[in-house]
């Protein structure tokens, strides 16, 4: 392939200008004539029977147009298959109502929908609905929830799903170990805290198609909406907007079903936007994990055995908890070669807010555990913490302890040594402050589970004036998903970005491209656009070769011209397009890209041949400064180093790496929704603190390109991996500063003070 002209450069994103001008429309920015405003009535208790719901008074309020409760929902009970749970557990299907009928299982569970002429009236009506509850016992600790004496959240068992990995002989492995470290690690609920709240507008067309325009990572929920409404899937259209941040929190259904139900009933346009407090109550959180780890190594640092027991809190409904648990299980031993391994994991129902997708998808919790263990081993052995990792990093061609062979480059030694070296000279230790440094390495899959047979579609077509249109159902999360696709087409077809329009995220009009989750869009849709662009290029060059009387191979496309590579001849692209039109030749291409497929997994398996398409590897190093008096922890330096395979847009790659690390700092030190007996304590952004510009260092990025990824031009994924090791790196730095191993996140000033006192 000839040299790349655009790929890898810091490109201006096509969507950035509109965003800078304030023109871009998000979910809340659309209005329609005559539209109604909606509200959701939510449960006041984390666990209760609903004895009665009385809507009479609310219905009589002037201006109220519709009130919907469970009895009005055509198909209120939604059953979904729980992945891979074939025996033992029995929770083969998870049941969830759209609106709670006779039982609520978490605080904030939706009970009724209200549509009215104004938001004020809708709010008033919500307060007029009377719900009689009978409180039921609450279980909010997943370890308690596994005991036979625990109240049940659903019928059967509180254990929702399990997975395991086993290889070698774990007991023998520990016997052969010269040193063993053991610890239990705890992580908290994290909120996505995207700046844009969930919401959208829906309306009905003449042909009875219900259109829902909202902010979402997954337009393909139109199928779920259709099932709930009892209409054909072709009658629901989801149009995504530019998303004001998602991070997994706009992956599950948010407002789309509610909007569709209200439109179906009123036949009027309806708008529903959550408030911040409602958003915190309504969407999933990152899973808290309890992780019991034991790791053994030889004197020379070689790992011999690793045993891990993982328990995650699924909250009140299943959502993606079994999947997140599978990710955590496969990633539990980190990027290391370990001969003897045993991992057992469970995800458990409680009356907490439900947990589901969040950037890293189970990968950051286990990274906190395995990278703490590696440091503990290093200290116990008196070994350098870089050295012990170098000895054990998995190599390309080897199999992970979970069974999958690593097919791409593993640049861990390089990312680790470069990240470590890039820390600048330590800030001089001042009186009353302690400085410490640490790092953590990681692996994180990109692309969905291969047993899901993931695919993406794209359409690329050239107009008569030589400008280009791309159509693909990619939701743009803000990471520059659409922009990278424009860059890829531009590279292949020699058409400048200004002449390319991309149409994204419409379930009826753009070819389905799957979800913007699992760090998959550049990989999947990037390849689909690449393929379609190459096909189109071929078609153009074929026609041009007849016009120029040279073979196709001698031609190139650049600057809207077809040129003869080793000559002076060239013709404008438009002339070729006109000829193609005159000849009745197609001027567009539709491509489908498939990820590698594999057989379904189940909870009985101990080894997995293939779970993911591929992995991204990287390392972060951190320096912290701790105030002995106040316990305040300041991250003074953070270096993030990854092999990203291939850079498509340098700005976007750096942006992911900087933003991911800062989100990781929040996770390590600040963020916690503090669920107490199922009641969220941090209800808004004054109580739920995320990093501000004053809380974080300017993250340094080191980007390596092995060109061995499965994405376009050898790209790997970076969206999720960018955050995976941050908390572990910071915890290791805090150990370096204090000599204290913190095993639960977030590491707050209170915890520091208490531990320092105890140590004295």
């Amino acid at each position: 392939m000839s040299e790349l002209k655009l790929i890898g450069k810091p490109a201006q994103r096509y969507d950035a200008r509109d965003k800078a001008l304030g023109i871009t429309k998000y979910g809340a920015d659309f209005v329609m004539p005559g539209m109604l405003h909606a509200k959701v009535l939510r449960s006041k208790y984390p666990s209760a029977k609903i004895l009665s719901i009385n809507t009479h008074e609310a219905e009589r309020l002037p201006g109220v147009k519709a009130i919907i409760t469970a009895k009005d929902v055509p198909y209120n009970e939604r059953a979904s298959n729980v992945v891979g749970q074939t025996t033992e557990i029995g929770a083969i299907q998870a049941i969830q109502p759209v609106l709670a009928k006779d039982r609520v299982r978490f605080l904030g569970e939706p009970i009724a929908l209200i549509a009215a002429e104004s938001l004020e009236i809708a709010e008033k009506a919500t307060n007029l609905i009377k719900v009689d509850y009978e409180k039921l016992p609450v279980v909010s600790d997943p370890i308690e929830a596994m005991k036979p004496s625990s109240p049940l959240v659903h019928e059967g068992s509180n254990i929702l799903a399990k997975w395991k990995i086993a290889k070698g002989d774990i007991e023998k492995g520990f016997k052969e170990s010269d040193v063993i470290v053991e610890n239990t690690y705890y992580t908290q609920f994290q909120d996505h805290a995207y700046m844009e709240l969930e919401g959208g507008v829906a309306w009905i067309d003449n042909d009875e198609v219900i259109n829902i325009r909202l902010t979402t990572q997954v337009i393909e929920h139109y199928r779920d909406v259709a099932k709930v409404l009892g209409v054909p899937e072709s009658k629901i259209r989801v149009i995504g907007t530019f998303i004001g941040g998602g991070f997994g929190g706009k992956e599950d259904v948010t407002v789309e079903t509610f909007l569709a139900l209200l439109v179906q009933k009123t036949k009027k346009p309806v708008k529903l936007i959550y408030t911040r407090e409602e958003s915190i109550l309504a969407h999933d959180k990152r899973h808290p994990f309890v992780m019991k780890y034991k790791t053994g190594a030889k004197k020379n640092g070689k790992l011999v055995a690793l045993k891990a027991e993982l328990v995650s809190d699924a909250g009140a409904y299943a959502y993606l908890s079994p999947w997140v648990l599978l990710y955590a299980t496969v990633h539990a031993s980190g990027p290391y070669d370990i001969p003897n391994i045993k991992v057992d994991s469970k995800t458990v129902y409680t009356n907490n807010i439900f947990t589901s997708a969040f950037r890293c998808f189970g990968g950051t919790q286990v990274c906190f555990a395995y990278e703490s263990q590696m440091d503990e081993l290093a200290h116990k052995l008196g070994m350098d913490s870089l050295k012990i990792r170098e000895i054990n990093y998995i190599k390309r061609g080897e199999k992970l302890p979970a069974g999958q062979r690593i097919e791409s480059t593993v640049a861990l030694t390089e990312t680790a040594s470069r990240a470590w070296k890039a820390l600048e000279k330590p800030n001089k230790s001042k009186k009353g402050k302690r400085i410490g440094r640490g790092f953590a390495s990681m692996m994180q899959s990109y692309g969905r589970l291969t047993m899901l047979h993931d695919s993406s579609h794209a359409w690329v077509g050239i107009e008569m004036d030589g400008s280009l249109i791309i159509r693909t159902g990619v939701p743009d999360l803000g990471g520059g998903q659409g922009s990278s696709l424009v860059q890829i087409a531009s590279e292949i077809l020699g058409i400048p970005g200004e002449d390319i329009s991309i149409h994204l995220t419409d379930s009826s009009l753009t070819p389905l491209a799957g979800t913007t989750t699992a760090t998959r869009q550049l990989y999947m849709s990037g390849n689909a656009v690449l393929q379609a662009s190459r096909n189109l290029r071929n078609m153009i060059l074929s026609r041009a070769s007849q016009m120029l009387n040279v073979s196709k191979e001698e031609l190139d496309l650049t600057d809207k011209k077809v040129i003869v590579k080793k000559g002076k001849k060239e013709i404008p692209l438009v002339d070729v397009v006109k000829e193609m039109a005159a000849d009745g030749l197609p001027r567009n291409s539709f491509a489908m890209f498939n990820a590698p497929f594999s057989k379904p997994l189940n909870s009985e398996m101990e080894q997995y041949e293939r779970v993911f398409p591929d992995f991204t590897f990287g390392t972060q190093a951190a320096e912290v400064e701790i105030d002995e008096e106040t316990g305040k922890i300041k991250v003074t330096q953070l270096v993030s180093s990854y092999d990203v395979g291939r850079v498509v847009n340098r700005n976007s790659v750096e942006g992911q790496m900087e933003g991911g690390a800062v989100m990781g700092i929040g996770y390590a030190l600040l963020e916690d929704i503090k669920s107490e007996k199922g009641i969220i304590q941090a209800k808004n952004l004054a109580q739920y603190l995320i990093p501000t510009s004053l809380d974080v260092p300017e993250v340094k990025t080191i980007i390596l390109e092995s060109k061995t990824g499965l994405g376009p031009f050898g790209a790997k994924g970076i969206g999720e991996p960018s955050m995976t090791p941050t908390a572990a790196a910071i915890a290791n730095a805090i150990y370096d500063a204090t000599g204290i191993r913190f095993t639960s996140l977030p590491i707050t000033p209170e915890k520091i003070i208490m531990a320092l006192k105890k140590k004295e």
Binding site: A16, A20, G22, Y26, I690, S693
Partner: protein, 165 residues
């Protein structure tokens, strides 16, 4: 609820509008004046997405009662383009990759503008303080700080090309 007439100057235009006494400035700007670039991220003064400039100071419009703006001057993001040109801050945010999802951008740029109007050559620390009330969940702030600094250093001092209508 009784309505009253509110007078203010928004993006250089004199406005008088009927509104409720308890309406916030954010509600009036978005719902009455259709200035959708003013974003709501929390409605409680915690995120800065709704920041506008009120008589030279950046304020959170969700915490400001519309009544408090009576007789005063307000600039929102689109007010920066009244002359038909892209503002240096906007240009710099684009070229530095300081925009990801873009939801924090309008408030961020207004806070930066209020800073630079008072202090055209702030230090990096002063920039960080000025935007510390504007949350961004995507970027990690680095590129935003760089974008603002580039303007102060005159690297982006020129106004951009015309803004398309």
């Amino acid at each position: 609820m009784k309505k009253y007439t509110l007078h203010m100057v928004v993006n250089g235009e004199e406005i008088s509008i009927e509104t409720k006494p308890n309406a916030t400035l954010l509600e009036v700007l978005r719902d009455e004046l259709n200035l959708m670039e003013v974003k709501e991220g929390c409605g409680q003064g915690d995120c800065g997405a709704c920041a506008v400039i009120l008589d030279g100071k950046a304020v959170n419009s969700c915490l400001t009662l519309a009544m408090q703006a009576e007789g005063r001057e307000i600039t929102t993001l689109s007010g920066l383009n009244k002359n038909g040109k892209i503002h240096p801050l906007q240009k710099s945010f684009v070229s530095h990759g300081a925009i990801q999802c873009g939801f924090c951008t309008p408030g961020m740029i207004m806070s930066a503008k209020a800073l630079l109007d008072k202090n055209p050559h702030p230090t990096r620390d002063e920039i960080k303080i000025a935007i510390s009330g504007n949350l961004c969940r995507c970027t990690g702030y680095k590129k935003i700080i760089e974008a603002i600094e580039a303007v102060t250093k005159g690297k982006e001092e020129k106004e951009g090309e015309n803004v398309r209508a």
